[in-house]
């Protein structure tokens, strides 16, 4: 975490605390006050997506450690493909729903969900099951299919990607939660935390034609980083990714990885997928840029089997 980010975040927390105090709800404040997480990463195996998240987030101090009262939260699942949930091309809707519920319970003022889909936006939102799940949990599902929702930002220190147009909600909200689904990918070999960011920008074509791996790593330098990465490994597409053709491409792994370090998250995910981390170029690129730590063996990981 950069110093500036730290200052910003503590200022936000202080403000929230002050507001809460003035509202005479001391107990609630202490219940949801930030707790320093004991672990860098929590990995859970053997349960349903919602149950695994309940357990995992508890180990990290509860959602209150990441979302303060009155904050606006944007949740970014992968819902880029016009396929049904069983084909595991999009994040599991049950998981998305539970994450939103946790955010609202922690006192989030508003939770937004969007993705710049690859297939037709309306169909993706509907057929992924996420729109319905998110709305039922109380989130706002926001369109992302036209350029006017995007605003240009600078990426200081980007090697190839120096500017990008990002969805306005990413800029207007306080907390960003990344919920990618782990999948095979035809050219980068894996899509997970870092690559999920291709769904918050408008011009993906530029990434593809300007060293895709470097652009993925560069984007992660942008100041608005995810407070939390929740990796859906419940059903994992191990071939024909990232879209998949049939159920034969999917292996049920019944797992989940929750981490604040998305480079570490991607590294752990690559091992789940059984791909040599070195072959996924953007992971080492991001590590070099100081975005996160790919040497996960040195991290403090909590492993839970259900």
């Amino acid at each position: 975490m950069k110093r500036r980010d730290f200052l910003k975040r503590s200022a936000g927390a202080g403000l929230a605390a002050g507001t809460a105090l003035s509202m005479r709800k001391y107990e609630d404040l202490w219940a949801s006050s930030p707790v320093i997480a004991k672990y860098d990463m929590v990995a859970i195996m053997g349960g349903n997506p919602d149950a695994m998240f309940d357990l995992g987030i508890q180990e990290l101090g509860g959602m209150g450690a990441f979302v303060q009262k009155g904050q606006k939260v944007v949740v970014k699942p992968n819902m880029g493909w016009d396929v049904i949930p069983e084909l595991a091309a999009n994040t599991n809707p049950i998981l998305v729903k539970r994450v939103i519920e946790h955010c609202l319970k922690a006192g989030a003022k508003e939770v937004y969900v969007f993705d710049h889909s690859i297939d037709n936006g309306v169909n993706c939102y509907r057929n992924s099951g996420i729109e319905k799940a998110a709305k039922s949990a109380g989130a706002k599902v926001v369109p992302a299919n036209t350029e006017n929702y995007y605003q240009e930002i600078e990426i200081p220190g980007g090697v190839r990607l120096k500017k990008a147009k990002v969805h306005e909600l990413l800029l207007e909200t306080d907390v960003f939660i990344n919920i990618p689904i782990l999948k095979d990918h035809n050219s980068t070999r894996m899509t997970c935390c870092l690559k999920n960011m291709m769904g918050v920008v408008w011009d993906r074509g530029f990434w593809h034609s300007n060293n895709l791996n470097q652009c993925i790593a560069d984007y992660a330098l942008f100041q608005k980083k995810p407070a939390l990465n929740i990796i859906d490994c419940f059903n994992v597409m191990v071939k024909h990714g990232p879209q998949g053709v049939s159920k034969a491409d999917v292996v049920p792994m019944k797992s989940q990885i929750i981490t604040t370090d998305w480079v570490a998250g991607d590294t752990a995910a690559s091992r789940m997928l059984g791909v040599e981390t070195g072959k996924i170029e953007y992971i080492s690129m991001a590590h070099k840029l100081g975005i996160g730590n790919m040497n996960i063996d040195s991290l403090n990981i909590k492993r839970i089997k259900m």
Partner: protein
């Protein structure tokens, strides 16, 4: 019958029909289920007639019902069912508000030569040469194009405006939609017709229907034998002439107590206007009429037809839309055949049955269909063609085949559509980012729904696309996704006759789920 309720009923009914058609074409949220589309379109004369020629079933015999209706009630079709006719009534009303003079029609002689020549020419051209002239003149098709080119964009602009305001208040029930760009060439014909039909209806009532429209002329002929029609009650008439002034078809000659039944569209305005209740709608015996020929008008028709046929040739040289390249690709795509929509069967078949009403263009949720310029040749102008630079044909969709009123697009089950090969993917390695830039891309393969485009090892850690045309369905997602300009590194060339693709491979995955955490 002389009740003013006749007119009220007509207005109510036609308003309902018009609203239905408006919603059908302007339905940018894709709410209207396809099954209602066929009900609404069943009685549209030309689409139904073309569908009937394709199918020979009762389910497509709506136009016969229209003929029977005309034999019974006169040209009620033009007032009650034709969206273009109803739209013109709306225009006339606006015209009347603008200038009182526009509402004073009076009896005019019919343009007999022009009408019948156009009808005969249309029939002959359609039978001998193809559907081209009918496409231009079919009132339903004209209405469809008006909605596609002007109506729907207007609705979307309003939607975007409202969505923008709502978005400021954190409400996202409406989303922003990209408006189709204005293209001079494809818009030229609808613009000409909008000016023609618009100005005629604004000032002259139903002159377009009674001078140019081949369906109007044909039904006018049929209505000469109709059972019910407007007539004078000569005992009551005081020859005040109000009926004639108020007749938007200019077909009432009150001095001679005559109503030109071939032009009367049964709007019942005269019944309401008549202060003496001397106009009535009832059973009448047929009276014969004289015919005259007018060479001047014949020349005009010949000229007009030549103009219509020549127009596409005149505007041919104006297409230049290539974008400025960021990083130029070098090899030009060798396109031989345009890609026509699923359900077309073959391009020839499709071109012979499509009246370019553009309903499919509106129904397409992915906005990949657009009116053709000259991809299908002169005869196929404005017929829908897939533009993979603009979008792609989405895998889980059969919408266009469901709404087509003429059966030019035959209904396809989703499973069949997923195996219908519209064209084949062609990979141009020399344009590919992986080769030219030596960096990873794979946008095409990522987008491919069947993995007909897949990646094979290339230099170092790189992977490069390869195609398998046995399972390619020509959906164009690869071409759309490919980031190279001005030429794509992968493009779909249409199949003149659509083919059956093989099913994509379905092997079990070799990778097993880890039992322990691998980290």
């Amino acid at each position: 019958m002389r009740s003013p309720n006749l007119r009220r009923f007509r207005i109510l009914f036609s308003a309902l029909v018009f609203i239905c058609f408006f919603i059908l074409f302007a339905d940018f949220k894709f709410i209207v289920p396809s099954k209602y589309v066929s009900i609404l379109l069943y009685l549209q004369f030309i689409p139904s007639a073309i569908k009937f020629c394709n199918l020979w079933t009762l389910a497509s015999a709506g136009f016969i019902a229209v003929i029977i209706l005309t034999l019974l009630t006169g040209r009620t079709y033009c007032s009650f069912l034709c969206p273009l006719g109803i739209g013109q009534d709306l225009f006339s009303r606006i015209g009347g508000r603008l200038r009182k003079k526009f509402r004073r029609y009076g009896y005019k002689k019919p343009f007999i030569v022009l009408r019948y020549t156009l009808l005969v020419v249309t029939i002959i051209v359609t039978l001998v040469w193809g559907i081209y002239l009918l496409t231009l003149l079919d009132p339903y098709g004209i209405f469809g194009r008006f909605m596609t080119y002007f109506g729907k964009p207007a609705v979307i602009i309003v939607n975007n405006f409202v969505a923008g305001i709502l978005g400021k208040f954190d409400i996202y029930t409406l989303s922003h939609i990209t408006v189709t760009k204005f293209q001079l060439l494809t818009y030229s014909i609808p613009v000409v017709f909008l000016l023609l039909v618009g100005s005629l209806s604004l000032a002259k009532g139903r002159l377009y229907c009674n001078m140019i429209c081949p369906v109007g002329t044909l039904l006018g002929l049929v209505s000469k034998a109709s059972l019910f029609r407007i007539r004078f009650d000569e005992d009551k008439c005081t020859r005040c002439g109000r009926c004639s002034i108020g007749c938007k078809s200019s077909c009432i000659d009150f001095l001679q107590y005559k109503v030109d039944v071939s032009r009367c569209v049964s709007c019942f305005n005269c019944i309401k206007i008549c202060p003496d209740k001397a106009m009535l709608y009832g059973v009448v015996r047929v009276k014969k009429k004289e015919h005259q020929t007018d060479n001047e008008k014949r020349r005009l028709i010949a000229g007009a037809v030549m103009f219509l046929l020549g127009l596409p040739q005149i505007v041919r040289g104006q297409d230049k839309s290539a974008p400025i390249p960021q990083k130029a690709s070098t090899v030009k795509e060798n396109r031989t055949t345009p890609v026509c929509p699923p359900g077309a069967g073959s391009m020839e078949d499709f071109n012979n049955h499509c009246i370019a009403c553009s309903l499919c263009v509106n129904a397409c949720p992915n906005n990949v269909l657009e009116p053709a310029l000259l991809q299908y040749g002169v005869a196929g102008i404005m017929q829908p063609v897939l533009n993979y630079h603009k979008s792609f044909c989405t895998y889980n969709c059969t919408k266009c085949t469901e709404v087509c009123p003429t059966y030019a697009l035959k209904p396809l089950l989703l499973e069949a559509k997923k195996l219908t090969q519209l064209g084949k993917a062609n990979f141009i390695k020399d344009n590919c980012i992986v080769k030219t830039e030596k960096t990873a891309c794979g946008a095409c393969s990522e987008a491919c729904p069947t993995k007909a485009v897949y990646m094979i090892p290339y230099e170092g850690n790189l992977l490069i696309p390869e195609t398998n045309n046995d399972i390619c369905i020509g959906c164009g997602h690869c071409e759309f996704a490919c980031p190279t300009t001005p030429y794509k590194a992968i493009f779909v060339d249409g199949n003149p006759v659509h083919q059956a693709a093989q099913k994509p491979e379905d092997e079990e995955a070799k990778i097993k789920a880890p039992v322990e955490f691998p980290f």
